[in-house]
């Protein structure tokens, strides 16, 4: 087991190094931020001097070597726009991102697991069909539309909740609902599928033959075994939620990593982009590892060599 963990960690390091390499070159190929940073009156001479001072005009490989050298000392550079060290800028957004992602995940699980289970038990009934239809709609609804609609209804019209921003619990509800919809839909379908798969298997039939009451059978045995792949899905969802909440964060002015990353990319703030990608890649890789370990713990049949 320990060997497996070490091997995975080694591979994870490789992945992160690979990502940093790709990001480094890709972001520089996509344009430079000179005119965005300098005042509108900057002349060509100003632009050239700025590019030279920041080292943009050196060969890319040279720049990369410099970056790696500093990174090994923990220095991921300074944000070009905010003029502050890049890594702390990213890390200070983690709590907000985690809060929103967790809330969205909790909501989606609370809805999706019961919905998926009941749907599986009552397959092909009206309930099942409606649930599946709802799930399909949930997966294809535009996130910004939902977010703005929720604000218009619950904040402006009904005056029940604040419009945007991060604050107390009431500030969390609408963004979490918006972000969680896609996850809810996806997890519902997967829970249902998993349940159906398990229900059809022999040991369930055995339990039923033994005469145990239906509901107990289903919930106790089927659900427990469905949980394993569901946890895998949760791991995946968490990754998506953490990295892909841009639209929700923009609409609700939520100070998360997603918005920081996208803004940095659009501003070609090279150090900040690199720092955000490294952090998100790390979170992604670690959560994958965690899920795999959890998986092994839950299903005794799985052994890691």
């Amino acid at each position: 087991m320990r060997r497996y963990v070490f091997r995975r960690l080694a591979q994870a390091t490789l992945v992160i190094v690979g990502v940093s390499l790709v990001v480094f070159f890709v972001i520089r190929l996509s344009g430079d931020p000179t005119f965005l940073l300098l005042s509108a009156e900057a002349t060509e001479a100003d632009r050239a001097r700025f590019a030279h001072e920041e080292g943009f005009d050196r060969p890319l490989v040279v720049q990369y070597v410099e970056f790696v050298r500093r990174a090994l000392h923990g220095d991921l550079g300074r944000s070009l726009r905010y003029r502050q060290p890049a890594l702390p800028l990213v890390l200070e957004r983690l709590p907000a991102t985690a809060e929103l992602a967790l809330a969205a995940l909790v909501i989606s699980l609370l809805v999706a697991i019961p919905a998926g289970v009941i749907s599986a038990v009552r397959r092909d009934t009206a309930y099942d069909n409606l649930t599946m239809l709802g799930a399909l709609f949930g997966q294809s609804m535009p996130v910004f539309w939902l977010g703005i609609m929720l604000i218009l209804i619950f904040s402006v019209r009904l005056e029940l909740l604040p419009t945007s921003g991060r604050g107390g619990f009431d500030h969390l509800i609408l963004p979490a609902l918006t972000l969680g919809l896609y996850s809810t839909a996806r997890v519902t379908r997967l829970v249902r599928a998993g349940m159906l798969d398990v229900i059809g298997q022999d040991y369930i039939r055995t339990a039923q033959a033994k005469g145990l009451p239906d509901r107990r059978v289903i919930v106790k045995h089927a659900l427990r075994n469905t949980l394993i792949p569901v946890i895998t899905i949760i791991g995946l969802e968490l990754g998506t939620l953490l990295g892909g909440a841009v639209i929700t964060e923009t609409i609700f002015a939520w100070p998360g990593i997603g918005r920081l990353a996208v803004t940095a990319i659009f501003q070609r703030d090279y150090p900040l982009v690199q720092a955000t990608v490294l952090v998100t890649a790390l979170v992604f890789v670690l959560s994958n590892l965690l899920v795999d370990l959890l998986y092994g713990w839950l299903d005794p049949r799985i052994r890691y060599t």
């Binding site: 990502v19 996509s30 399909l136 535009p142 997967l190 229900i199 990608v277 795999d292």
Partner: protein
């Protein structure tokens, strides 16, 4: 030796298993269930065919030229509301263009993008996955790590760079989506290949002196094809939705070419003033995605017996 479950593979396999269920016990039950499934499949097929018809005969069916601007007649509501008229059944957009016509023409781009990006990424993904799963070892490790790197990489950055370096055109949108999409097919094919390679008939083929590539093509591929096709159908739906996200970032199909994703994005600024700009393209997307999913379900049923054996 059991390998730890590959998350993406598991997710995909679960999606596949959505309809894989024990046969209903009574004959009547079986009949009812097939009928219900068939009905959804038929509906799905109808929707998809409708889309194809719309896309192909757009010039004939659409009441106006989708590029025809008339700034003085912008943001007119649909025909059944005050201010609307029969000339623009679904109203006009922010530049006075007919929304119905743009939706009809938009089906072209959306279907094209959805289909082509899958057609592009699927063979590459499957090919790489099969190779990785069959030969394992170094090849497998390298391929999967490249896939990991790509999964950990922010999609937006990829999109911006490709669009920035190659220019934003429908062709490059397809490229962006294909690059983003091959991983799922690769993972799935790899999983299948891994489990298949130990099976008897492969051993037999090898024993008979079959070369690797022969085995791959004649024996592996047919067994992998059916789940791949199903996932591919869902992939089309996903690509259509992703195009809409790309438009949100300004990287989608260039104006004035109408695309559903682009229309959604354009209408975002007008949600409170002119809801029809977002509602109709959004509904078109949802219906199409629904239809494709139904067809996917139906395909799964069709290929069901083969699935069980795998």
């Amino acid at each position: 030796m059991a390998r730890p479950a590959d998350p993406v593979h598991v997710a995909v396999a679960l999606a596949l298993a959505d309809a894989a269920r024990p046969a209903p016990r009574s004959r009547r039950g079986r009949f009812v269930s097939t009928l219900v499934r068939k009905r959804a499949g038929v509906i799905g097929l109808v929707i998809v065919l409708l889309n194809v018809v719309l896309a192909l005969s757009a010039p004939v069916l659409s009441p106006h030229d989708p590029l025809d601007q008339d700034v003085a007649r912008r943001l007119l509501p649909p025909a059944w509301l005050a201010g609307g008229g029969p000339e623009h059944l679904l109203g006009t957009d922010q530049l006075g263009r007919d929304i119905l016509s743009r939706i009809i023409y938009g089906s072209r781009i959306s279907l094209l993008i959805g289909l082509l990006s899958v057609v592009l990424s699927l063979p590459i993904g499957v090919g790489l996955g099969l190779l990785a799963g069959y030969f394992t070892g170094r090849l497998d490790d390298i391929t999967m790590r490249i896939a990991d790197v790509q999964l950990a990489f922010p999609f937006i950055l990829l999109a911006i760079t490709i669009a920035g370096v190659l220019g934003p055109s429908p062709r490059n949108v397809i490229l962006i989506l294909a690059v983003g999409g091959w991983v799922v097919y690769a993972r799935l094919a790899r999983g299948q290949a891994l489990s298949l390679r130990e099976k008897e008939f492969i051993e037999a083929a090898r024993g008979l002196g079959g070369g690797s590539f022969r085995i791959l093509f004649r024996h592996m591929l047919p067994n992998v094809i059916s789940p791949i096709i199903v996932v591919g159908t869902f992939g089309v739906a996903q690509m259509i939705l992703l195009e809409s996200s790309l438009s949100f970032l300004g990287l989608g199909v260039q104006p004035p070419t109408p695309s559903w994703g682009g229309m959604l994005n354009d209408g975002r600024a007008y949600i409170t003033v002119a809801w029809w700009l977002t509602t109709f393209p959004g509904a078109a997307i949802m219906l199409t995605v629904l239809g494709i999913n139904f067809v996917g379900d139906w395909l799964r049923d069709l290929l069901d017996p083969r699935l069980q054996s795998v």
